[in-house]
Structures are given as structure tokens and as C-alpha cells.
Subunit: 538 residues, 2 copies
């Protein structure tokens, strides 16, 4: 205890203070050879990208700590540290030298197999680099400045139900977003430039067609359910479930699903999230409410899905910029697959319900499996996206997608946006927000400049069902295994077919490799009809 600096990190830190910290200068390796050709630039590019990746990992840890551990006083320092890391990350990645090495490496790597790690790294880097360098520095600075102020303004406007106070910020963000889209470039729709940031390669027309198909099927389904709504009571989920027991149960479920606690951890956070600093250290968070069991339970399964995806990157790409997930949509397909297709299935609860009853004997006394299963799958059209059930959730997303496009393409003004929002809620979900706080002001995304982001949630839902079906087609025993609390076959198939590739393929490309088909709404619609047709006896 007397050794203030007597441990390796303090030692490292101390060395830094004393200027002893230089890492050995990069030795110029003799030119590596691939198929007889020298790939020196590729090698240098990889070294540089690894540094960029390490900076991103360090930033992510600072962010995790901020949500999970940081004492209030640390905020001011943390903002400064993140700003420095962010600046260095941006400078290093967008430097002309990166572009030069990338171009030279692309030339060297002509003829590398498409699926190889190196060819994939070059494709992914080209996409990232173009995105990062197409925006003029002045526009990036202005976006940073405006969204930082707009975020404060939004939080206040939402608290006060004051859309008028947020409107000028929304207007400004839309203007800047239009400028950004112009620089990023698009052929068909403005939105193409935006969605590409979150779902590489995805086109607006394709999303619109999928969403129209989905909407046409979901609206009547929801109406039919709404007519029967009184049939399911979920008040058993609002009894007293002690938080400590919720945590123990959630931890047990996550472990059994296959989330690896040797390469991750579960903590509490106000806003649950998954983050990572390399595929061997992917952490999840959740929150507990003693009188709402599903919150932490399905939240933990959802985040475990995200985390198992990132933990599954192949060893060969671990620690490189290729580790992680292909897109937000593919990511969401995995969190939803585990949360909904597995975690809200009857088979899952055939195994876990007796264990849940043992963990919570008082609130679940006399409750049977069927009652519980129906309670956790209760459908009810509502106003708030983040509280929506599996069936209605997609309509929340479709409304946002339509409004974003109408705003960007000039069919809707920011003045008229709240009314358009409310009208769509009434038309699609049969509920009308009584306030803007419960309407157009509810989400953080626009204030942060994240226009084009929402569709990824529903794309994830659409992709989750064919992925799951494909796994079951390959291994028909999976449903029986789930009913026995065994998930190894399913996880193994997902790892082999999706997780191990990390960011190598664009989302639509990955989807087609895995399923052999184009993305369609039909499998998801069929799944909903089947599951909820049975639950609601339609």
C-alpha cells in the first residue's frame, strides 16, 4: 500500500511524465511480399489504421467510464480528454498521408481475393476515408458546434414541451445536413448520402419499398390486435421484483446465452448500451426497476446480442479496424434476434420460467407459463418509441423515416412537422400525441445531427427473422435446444456465418451471402402474423 507507483500502469504513467515513454521507433521492415509483389504501403497503412483504431478504443473506454463510474467532478476533464482524442483520431485518419498510403496499397493489392482480410480492410477503409474526408473542415466544425448547442436546446425544449424553442435548431441542422449530403454525394435521393453513414451501401428507395410493404401488413395486424387488446393483462410484470435478484437472473441468462464474461462485464448505467475496446473486451450495461421486470431482463438479453456479435469477430481481425459489426442494422438484427426471437419465445421460457419463479417466488406465485408468455408479448399502440412492443415498434420508425425525407426534400416545413407527426401516429397507430413532448420532441437523434439513423432499427428487425430461419434450417434441433436452455448451436452458426466477418462486408452483401436472398419484409411479416395470430387468437 505504500507503493504509490508500484504497479505497471503507474509505472507507465510515470515513465511518461519522465519522458521515458517512447515506443521504439517504427522499424522499417523489409518489404513484405504477397504473390511475389511488395506490399510495403499496405503494411504501413495497416500500422497507421491500427493506431487510429486504438485511439477509437481509448475514446470508447473514456465514454464507458463516464456512464458507469465517473464521479460528477470528472465531467470537465473528460470532455477535454475526449476532445483531444477525437481531434487526434480525426487528424491521423484524414491526413493526406493516409490517403496516399490507401491509394498505393489499393494498387499493390490488385488481385487479392475479395474475401481476404487485406482486400476487405481496403474496401472498408476506402468507404470510411471517403466519408471522413468529403466534408469540408469548416462544415464539420459548424456541425459540431451547432449539434452541441442543439442538444442542450432539445433537452430543455423536451422538458418544457416547447417545440418553438427547438424549431430554429432543427431548421439549422436540416440546412447543414443538406450541405453535408451535397458534399457526401448521392445519385437518387438526398437521404442516400445520409443513410450510407449508418448502413453502408443502403439506398433510400429500397428502404422505402420495404417500409411500404411492412406498413401495409402491420397496420391491419395492429388494428386487429387492438380490437382484442383487453385480452392480455401484464400487471404481473409490475409486481415487486427485487433489483439484486433481477441482476443475478440477468447475469445467469446472459452467461447461458453465450455472452463471455471473461471478455466482457455487466454494469449499471442510466442509459443502457453496449460498447467495446477490442473484440476481447465488449461490455454491456443495463438498468433495474423493481416494479418493471421486462426492463432489465430483455434489456440485458438485447445488449448481450450486440455484445456476442462483437465478441465473435475472428481472431485474425481482432484488434484491427475490421473487428466489430457490419452496420447498425446488422447489429440490431442480432440484438433483436436474441431479445425477441429467442428471449420472447415460448421455447425459451419453457426452460427459464421455472427458474424465474424460483428467483422471484412472491410475485410469480401461481402464475403459469402461458400467462407469463402472453404478458411479455402484450401489444399496445403507444406514443413513445423506446417503450414500444415488438409489433408496433416498426411503425414508430417508419413515421420518422417518412418525416425525415419529407423535411429534406421540401415537402414538409419545420413549422408543420409536429402536426405531420401527430397525424401519422393517428393514422398508423391509432394514437395521437397530446403534447410534442410525447410526440416530435421525444428522440435525441435529430438534435445530434443523426438524420438517416432511424431506419437501421427496423432493418435490423427485418433481417433478424431470415437469419434465425436460416440457422434453424441448417440445424433443425435449435428450437428444441432453446427449450432445454442450450444456445451453443445457434450461437455457433451465427458466429460462423455473421459474427466472424466483423466489418468485412456491407450489410446487404452480408445478408445475401448468409440467406441467398435480397432483403424483404415478408419473412418478418410472416413471423409476426404467426406469433401474434396465435397469442391474440386472430
Amino acid at each position: 500500500m505504500r507503493d504509490f507507483l508500484n504497479n505497471p500502469d503507474q509505472f507507465l504513467r510515470h515513465l511518461q511524465a519522465a519522458g521515458y515513454t517512447g515506443v521504439p521507433p517504427q522499424t522499417i521492415a523489409r518489404c513484405p511480399i504477397w504473390k511475389g509483389a511488395c506490399v510495403e504501403h499496405l503494411t504501413q497503412l495497416k500500422e497507421r489504421l491500427t493506431e487510429v483504431h486504438n485511439l477509437a478504443g481509448a475514446s470508447a473506454l473514456l465514454g464507458w467510464d463516464q456512464q458507469v463510474n465517473m464521479p460528477p467532478g470528472g465531467a470537465i476533464h473528460r470532455a477535454a480528454q475526449l476532445a483531444t482524442l477525437s481531434k487526434l483520431h480525426h487528424e491521423l485518419f484524414t491526413a493526406e498521408e493516409t490517403g496516399r498510403l490507401l491509394e498505393a496499397a489499393e494498387a499493390e493489392a490488385q488481385g487479392l481475393p475479395y474475401d481476404s482480410d487485406d482486400a476487405s480492410l481496403l474496401r472498408v477503409t476506402r468507404h470510411d476515408y471517403d466519408l471522413a474526408t468529403k466534408l469540408p473542415t469548416a462544415l464539420v466544425a459548424e456541425l459540431t458546434r451547432v449539434t452541441s448547442l442543439a442538444h442542450e436546446a432539445w433537452a430543455k425544449a423536451r422538458a418544457n414541451d416547447d417545440y418553438a424553442a427547438f424549431k430554429p435548431w432543427l431548421k439549422q441542422i436540416l440546412d447543414l445536413t443538406l450541405q453535408a449530403a451535397g458534399h457526401l454525394g448521392y445519385e437518387d435521393r438526398i437521404y442516400d448520402a445520409l443513410i450510407d453513414q449508418y448502413e453502408p451501401g443502403m439506398k433510400t428507395a429500397q428502404v422505402a419499398a420495404l417500409f411500404d410493404e411492412l406498413k401495409a401488413a402491420q397496420i391491419p395486424l395492429i388494428q386487429a390486435i387492438a380490437a382484442q387488446r383487453g385480452r392480455i393483462d401484464n400487471s404481473i410484470l409490475k409486481r415487486e421484483y427485487p433489483e439484486a435478484a433481477q441482476e443475478a437472473f440477468g447475469r445467469m441468462v446472459a452467461r447461458q446465452l453465450g455472452y463471455d464474461f471473461e471478455r466482457g462485464r455487466l454494469d449499471r448505467a442510466v442509459h443502457p448500451f453496449t460498447t467495446g475496446f477490442g473484440s476481447n473486451d465488449i461490455r454491456i450495461t443495463t438498468r433495474y426497476e423493481s416494479r418493471w421486470l421486462p426492463g432489465s431482463l430483455f434489456g440485458t438479453i438485447h445488449e448481450s446480442g450486440h455484445a456476442m456479435y462483437e465478441q465473435g469477430s475472428a481472431a485474425a481481425i481482432s484488434g484491427t479496424p475490421l473487428e466489430g459489426g457490419a452496420s447498425l442494422g446488422i447489429h440490431e438484427s442480432q440484438s433483436r434476434l436474441w431479445e425477441n426471437l429467442v428471449g420472447r419465445s415460448r421455447a425459451f421460457w419453457m426452460y427459464f420460467f421455472p427458474r424465474l419463479q424460483a428467483a422471484f417466488p412472491a410475485p410469480l406465485e401461481g402464475v403459469d407459463l402461458d400467462t407469463f408468455y402472453r404478458a411479455i408479448n402484450r401489444v399496445e399502440p403507444s406514443l413513445i418509441r423506446v417503450e414500444a412492443d415488438e409489433v408496433t415498434y416498426n411503425l414508430h420508425i417508419i413515421i420518422r423515416f417518412e418525416i425525415e425525407n419529407d423535411l429534406l426534400e421540401g415537402r414538409l416545413s419545420v413549422d408543420d412537422a409536429p402536426e405531420a407527426w401527430n397525424a401519422k401516429y393517428e393514422g398508423y397507430l391509432g394514437v395521437r400525441p397530446p403534447t410534442n413532448r410525447e410526440g416530435i420532441l421525444q428522440d435525441v437523434h435529430w438534435s445530434g445531427g443523426m438524420i438517416g439513423y432511424f431506419p437501421t432499427y427496423t432493418l435490423g428487425n427485418l433481417m433478424s427473422v431470415p437469419f434465425f430461419d436460416k440457422a434453424v434450417a441448417a440445424h433443425p434441433a435449435i428450437p428444441d435446444e432453446i427449450a432445454r436452455g442450450e444456445f451453443g448451436t445457434l450461437l455457433g452458426w451465427l458466429r460462423d456465418n455473421i459474427y466472424r466477418h466483423g466489418r468485412k462486408y456491407q450489410p446487404a452483401e452480408l445478408y445475401e451471402r448468409v440467406t441467398g436472398e435480397k432483403i424483404s419484409a415478408q419473412p418478418y411479416v410472416a413471423y409476426l402474423r404467426q406469433k401474434y395470430g396465435e397469442i391474440y387468437d386472430l
Copy 2:
């Protein structure tokens, strides 16, 4: 829970991935004016140093997480992230541009008051910069490579009690250290160049004189105590003290001393330490052993001392490279002041002992204050430095200081070092290590290249007493306040006179400002004689 990225950091991270993260380009402010002169270079230097400081803070957080939270899998990624941060830190700080700005800023700032933050920043930066740039890159690389391997070799050699296996590494480290000292420069003793890294401005001759004085007084004191040793039994401290209650008690004590949990936190770690990421986020760690109460109790007080020091930097220097501690010695003076002069005093336990008894009724049943006070102050010459008591500790340090100098100045070979070590233990402490594992192989420092570091522990002890005496002279009520569990006056005085200055003054300079005297061994010797004379009835 569905919002994988719906929080500010994930948002930031996502922006980074999308290339949106650029911080606004540094606007060239109109030249700031001081006393009619433009201080543009100073302003630019400060921006650059703040980035360097932020990188160090980020590294420290990665280190903290590694000790406290990181799952085992994360190690490989963490090493890569720390290497990247360390490289960027070194490059940014030692860049020619830093030197150019520093020189220009020094010229601009001629005539700034010595005590001003800006003049102090320039002095501290000059010292750091010279230290960091005097070593040739190739030597830094070789030191990094050799110490990294030597650390592994040392751990194995210690486990196997195999000095022969460590000897070639020690030899190599000594050779590299001699080269480093040559580059760093010294006038009198080789060791001057080394100790200056940890205790800026301190000279070997001064340390040697202090240590000789101390040794002459401590050896007979220890002999006198050893003759009486049987008189104190500390077995009550080895009873069963439940860990949860230890933690709650330690937390309560730390809070009451004045450690600010709004700007810090207490966690468990295998090797207790204090670390920080800005003066508003200074964290401490400890470890618990249920059958050894003093470990966590005094460990927590010790780390709280380090932490209160760093939390006390003036607001004006918070977040700048001037925050923190003046040197390792001054740091140790504060951890020891709180641990020993406060935490092991009779007055302290007059207040806390009844509370300790309430927290641990079973093991402390029937134990009285005096018995407890004597038990926690039991003196016994022993072999292991980190387990030594307040009185014998300094002799462990003096032995290391003497051996380091003998090795560097060629009076001792690495072959003969173990025997020299054992002979000194026998001569000074009356105990002879039966193995090298309990002798020369016990400490990590040399394997890490940290030669010149040990004296700071004892310098801290020596300075702690005059600092405390000075506080009591200014506020004679302090001892009575301690006996009432009140520490605000003492902490306030330490903040005003020491903590708020951060790194502005060199240690001897700070000491003289505070005490009006040169560092001497006498006050500390007088304190030991008085306290232990009474305890041991000498």
C-alpha cells in the same frame, strides 16, 4: 434499451466512425497581451501542453480500468491502446515544435512574476522537456525493450528465488542507466541525474547526508525497541474483521478526513494505488484481508492522503499540466502525514476507536484504546519493505539508496550485491534474509529501470513532520480537533500551503516556502523518539 447508440458517448464514438468528429480547427486568436507584449507563443504552447496532458489523463484512465475493471480478455487490446497513446504523447511533447514554442514563450514571458501560473508552467515544462528530449530515441527504445523483458525475468526470478536468472538483466539495466545518466547530465554524482527524474532538483549528497543523520539516530532507537519487543502483542489485529465492514469503515474515515467522493471513488485492486485524470477525478483503491485489519484501514488513509493532495490543486491550474503533485517525495509526505501522524495517533483513535468497536463488536470486545493504539504502532524489524512499520521503514530505503549508489559508482558488482544487501539488513535492522526472494529480489523497481526512486519514500517521511508541526503551530487546536474527528482545519492549511500549488515549485523549494527551513532529519527523529519512547517506555 433499444438505443444501442442513443447516448452521448456512443454518439461521439459513432461520429468518429463517420468522420464527423473533427473538433473545430484551432482558431488563431488575436495575440493575447500581457503587460503590453504579445504572448502568442505562450498561448500556443499552452494549447499544445493541454493536449499532451489530456493524453496522459486518458492513459491513466486506461491504466486504472486495467487494474480495477478490465476482464482478462482485454489485456491484449489494452496494451496496444496504451502503446499508441504513449507514442502520441511522446511525439507531441518532444516534437521540435514544442521546443520552439517553449523557447519563444520563455522569451515572451521574461519578467512574469515567478509565482505566476504562466511562469511556473514554463519552469515545469522546461524541466520536463529537457528530461524527455535529452535521451536519444535509440536509448529510450532500448530501455523500453529491456525493462519490459526484465520485468518478466524479475517476476520469475523472484518466484523461484533465483538471483542468477535476474543478474544479467540487472547488469544490462545498470549499463543503460549509466548511459541515460550521461545524457541527462550531472555535476557531482551519477545518481543526481536519476533522482532528478523523481524528485526534481534534489542532490545525492544532500540525500546521503540526511540519510546518514537518520541512520545514526534510527539504528539505536530500533535496537532499544527490539530489546523490549515482547511488550506489544498485535494479535487482536489478526482476528476476523469482515471485509464488507472494513470497506464501510474505510469509506467513512476517508470521507471524514476530507477525501471528496464527488471528485473521486474508492475501488478494490490487487495492488492499491491512487491515480487521477484531472484534479476533479482522483481515484483510490485498496484491498481487504479479513484477518489483517491494518492493511485496508491504513492503506485507505494513505491513498486518501495522496488523493487529497491532488484534489487540492487550485481551480486556476486544474486541467493544466501544473495540477498534481510537486514530486514523489512531497506526495509521500502527504500520504504518510495522514496515515501515520494523523491515522496512527492516539488523538485520532480517541474519536474513532469507539466507532471501530461498534463496526467490529466481536473481534474488539473488551479491547481498550491503549491496547489498540499500541498494537497498531508495534515495531518489529523485518525483511520486507512493504510490510515494514513506521520506524523501521526508512532503513529499508537507506539500504537500497546505498546499494544503488555503490552499484552505479562501481564499488559493488552485481555478483556481490545480494551479500551486500544481506549484510546491511543484518547491520542496520538485525535481521538477515534467508533467501534472495526475501532480500534483493523483493522489489519491482529495478526491473522497471526505476533507479533513484526509493529515496523519495523516506524524503516523504522526513518532510511530513515539519509540515504537520507547522500546521499545528498555525492552528494549535488541530490536535484537539483530531480527537473530535474534525480535520477541516488541518486539511485547509495543507491545501493553502501545499496542495493548491500543484507542480509549481520544486520539492525543496516548496518545503522551504512552507517551513522556512532546509530539509533536515531532526524533526522526524524527534517525533519518532517522542512517540515510540512513550509507547515502548524507553
